[in-house]
């Protein structure tokens, strides 16, 4: 029996075990929505309030569940509204399949109503994209799309389907894609590289690991833990690596990078071996490359050959999925410990505690700090929650202080730094891991970039806990203005609406805390609630996040104040 291209699209999704789609309908994708109508039992569609929200929700879903997020949008403005989320997914390696409707094929190129060249526009920010003009292409192209999105280093793909192809009738036959001849998702390493890595690891006196999201994407948390426990090597994380190793693990030495911890940043320039594990030496991590780990030998465990030697030249590259490469290394390396070297980190932790952390977490001043809010959340969730952050000071503070017991728990926009990410991403994260507590930590600026997704949260009933840390400023930009632009606060002060009333307008329980005495209880109440909840906390307006490596500075010159 023949079916329409639209129905074929839905059937492909079912073949790929998709049970959730985030999207927004419109003229050019209406046939697909009509087909979806007949499959409501098999696949749930979440109607967002803006297509950008659909992409971030799909990202949150992908990052909490490990499955690709799926997005639908119509042609023209629907499709262009996806761009920020696609770019974010590309730079943070999030598997996502976007399906956009397109004007009928005979109209392509004619500036038809709601026609945009979405394939052209999305090319530099997708792992792969394709325009379908004939229904018969649907099964093979979608199979390929899912395979590419998920395999190797994951990423977003976009498939644009003309309206006539959605109507056209075909015989449906689906075959999952397992290979594309021009594409090598997982490069391999020779014995020579593995042995060279083992040799460097065995010889190192002061080794340091910096791990990134590669550990999580490769689902190699266990393999990673076995490796560090056998070798006794201190392990620091990038913002996207956070939660791959429990924060309380004795070998976890904290965060590297611009607002990372004092110890791992400074000691990057004192270690004799730096082991980069599924991370890509982003400039926010390395600071000035000419003064980055020059004294150290470097081993890079990496799935994407384009990342090797891109920013930092390495001595040994172990290519491949660390889930496979790391156990081979662990087996061969000597059991070891680096007690004295580890003490160097703990010494610096103590300095950081005295100068920064104590007054962040246990302030004596009247105004509340972002740090103490995160601390209060930790106390309540005991490190079991998924924390979704937006972009800015609150993000850095949350990543610095949030406690995590399990992986896939820290969801943030790292590479692109997309304000507006957190609210929709938290919704997606909750739907991807419904049994887990999901707490979104958002600034008063970024919150207002996708605030309309409160509507989606209300409509789905997803029990997301939303915390807005309100400092009445675009805080991170204000901090830079204070430190580097002589306090000229150009357009960073915000006059905000009554956030609690807005939440209530969406029938979401809301509370505002402006005194320390109310914090603990409000957090407790929020976490204990089984419904979506909103909590606004008024924090000190002009607090700064420290430590900080100013742009272009060396990691050694990290400022504590």
């Amino acid at each position: 029996m023949k079916i329409t291209g639209s129905e074929a699209v839905i059937k492909c999704l079912l073949e790929e075990n998709v049970d959730l789609i985030y999207g927004y309908p419109g003229g050019a994708i209406m046939p697909i929505y009509d087909a979806l109508y007949h499959y409501q039992k098999e696949v749930k569609h979440v109607l967002v309030r803006h297509e950008q929200g659909a992409t971030h929700a799909a990202q949150g879903y992908a990052r909490s569940s490990g499955k690709p997020g799926v997005v639908f949008a119509t042609s023209g403005p629907g499709a262009t509204n996806l761009i920020t989320g696609i770019a974010d997914a590309q730079i943070d390696s999030t598997p996502m399949v976007c399906i956009t409707g397109q004007v009928a094929s005979h109209l392509l190129g004619s500036d038809a109503f709601q026609e945009t060249d979405i394939v052209g526009i999305s090319t530099p920010i997708t792992k792969w994209n394709y325009q379908i003009t004939k229904a018969e292409e649907i099964p093979t192209v979608l199979a390929k799309a899912f395979f590419i999105a998920k395999s190797g280093r994951p990423g977003p793909v976009l498939v644009d389907i003309t309206k006539d192809a959605q109507f056209e009738l075909i015989d449906f036959k689906y075959q999952a894609c397992t290979k594309v001849r021009s594409y090598k998702p997982e490069p391999s390493s020779s014995l020579k590289e593995l042995d060279a890595a083992v040799d460097l690891i065995n010889k190192a006196k002061k080794p340091l690991i910096v791990f990134g999201q590669g550990v999580i994407l490769g689902e190699a948390e266990e393999e990673f833990k076995n490796f560090i426990e056998k070798t006794g090597i201190p392990a620091a994380w990038t913002i996207l690596g956070l939660s791959a190793l429990p924060t309380a693990h004795p070998l976890n030495v904290g965060m590297v990078g611009m607002h990372g911890n004092y110890g791992p940043n400074v000691l990057t320039n004192e270690c004799d071996l730096l082991i980069a594990m599924g991370m890509r030496f982003d400039d926010r991590v390395t600071g000035d490359l000419n003064r980055y780990a020059k004294q150290a030998k470097i081993i890079h465990f990496e799935i994407d050959p384009a990342e090797v030697n891109k920013n930092v030249p390495v001595d040994v590259a172990v290519l491949g999925n660390i889930k496979k490469t790391l156990p081979q290394i662990t087996e061969k390396v000597n059991k070891n410990n680096h007690e004295n070297w580890l003490k160097e980190f703990r010494k610096r932790d103590e300095i950081e505690y005295q100068t920064v952390i104590e007054k962040d977490l246990h302030p004596t001043k009247d105004e509340m700090t972002m740090g103490e809010v995160i601390h209060a959340i930790n106390e309540e969730t005991k490190g079991d929650a998924i924390i979704v952050t937006d972009v800015g000071q609150h993000q850095m503070v949350a990543c610095r202080y949030a406690k995590f017991n399990q992986s896939k728990s820290n969801i943030t926009s790292g590479g692109l730094g997309t304000m507006g990410f957190a609210l929709p991403a938290a919704l997606g994260a909750k739907m991807g891991a419904p049994e887990r507590e999901v707490v979104a930590i958002i600034g008063d600026g970024g919150y207002q970039m996708t605030i309309q997704e409160l509507g989606t949260i209300f409509q789905t009933g997803a029990a997301v806990k939303i915390v807005v840390l309100n400092n009445n400023f675009l805080g991170m930009v204000r901090q830079w203005q204070q430190l580097f632009f002589d306090k000229r606060y150009a357009s960073t002060e915000l006059v905000n609406p009554d956030f609690v009333t807005i939440a209530k307008g969406y029938y979401i329980d809301g509370e505002k805390v402006d005194k320390r005495s109310g914090l603990k209880n409000a957090v407790k109440k929020m976490i204990q609630s089984k419904k979506p909840c909103f909590l606004e906390v008024c924090v000190e307006k002009e607090d700064n996040v420290f430590p900080m490596i100013p742009t272009g500075e060396s990691v050694s010159n990290i400022r504590l104040s």
């Binding site: 394939v119 052209g120 090319t123 530099p124 792992k127 792969w128 994209n129 394709y130 325009q131 590419i148 290979k179 594309v180 001849r181 021009s182 594409y183 090598k184 994407d304 050959p305 384009a306 090797v308 030697n309 891109k310």
Partner: protein
């Protein structure tokens, strides 16, 4: 100072709509300007070969190569210097036919430069010359006094002295 050199990039790809866009985006992203670009089928069925010439630093071109290879439909990419390749460009010169009769010298120029006349009409004639850049440029200067009505030069095409082993790569990924 880093050394800027001329490189020929060869990219083997699937024959896919939009791939040119994807490839050029990688150069654009790094603010690299392309001197010439050529695309044609290659010795393997259904596989295309782009030949792109540009001037940049070797360190950078290495990174561009890995980023090109990362694209799903790129099979392999390479870079070479001039000495590692055999390369040619083609040029066409459209000249007023008068020149042929008025000045005998034109014949000598064409003959000496190993160019050929591809067509002659009462109004104009067309000369074709394949060779290195210096050769097509020299012919241009030599013909200029006779009035060149139109001039066009193709992008570089090149083959490498070393084998490319694309079939082997394809076999491996099968």
């Amino acid at each position: 100072m880093k050394k800027v050199k001329k490189f020929t990039v060869s990219i083997y790809t699937e024959n896919n709509l939009g791939l040119l866009n994807r490839i050029s985006a990688i150069f654009l992203k790094r603010h690299l300007s392309i001197d010439s670009i050529n695309s044609s089928p290659c010795e393997i069925e259904d596989i295309f070969r782009f030949v792109i010439v540009l001037k940049t630093e070797e360190e950078l071109i290495k990174k561009v190569i890995t980023q090109l290879e990362k694209q799903v439909e790129v099979i392999a990419a390479f870079y070479h210097t001039d000495v590692e390749t055999i390369f040619q460009e083609s040029a066409l010169y459209k000249v007023k036919t008068e020149a042929l009769f008025q000045k005998k010298k034109v014949h000598t120029i064409i003959k000496n430069s190993h160019a050929s006349i591809v067509m002659v009409s009462p109004e104009y004639f067309v000369i074709e010359k394949t060779g290195k850049r210096e050769e097509t440029e020299k012919l241009y200067t030599d013909l200029a006094p006779f009035g060149i009505l139109q001039f066009v030069r193709s992008g570089r095409i090149s083959v490498t002295k070393e084998p490319m082993r694309i079939t082997e790569i394809l076999e491996k990924n099968k």
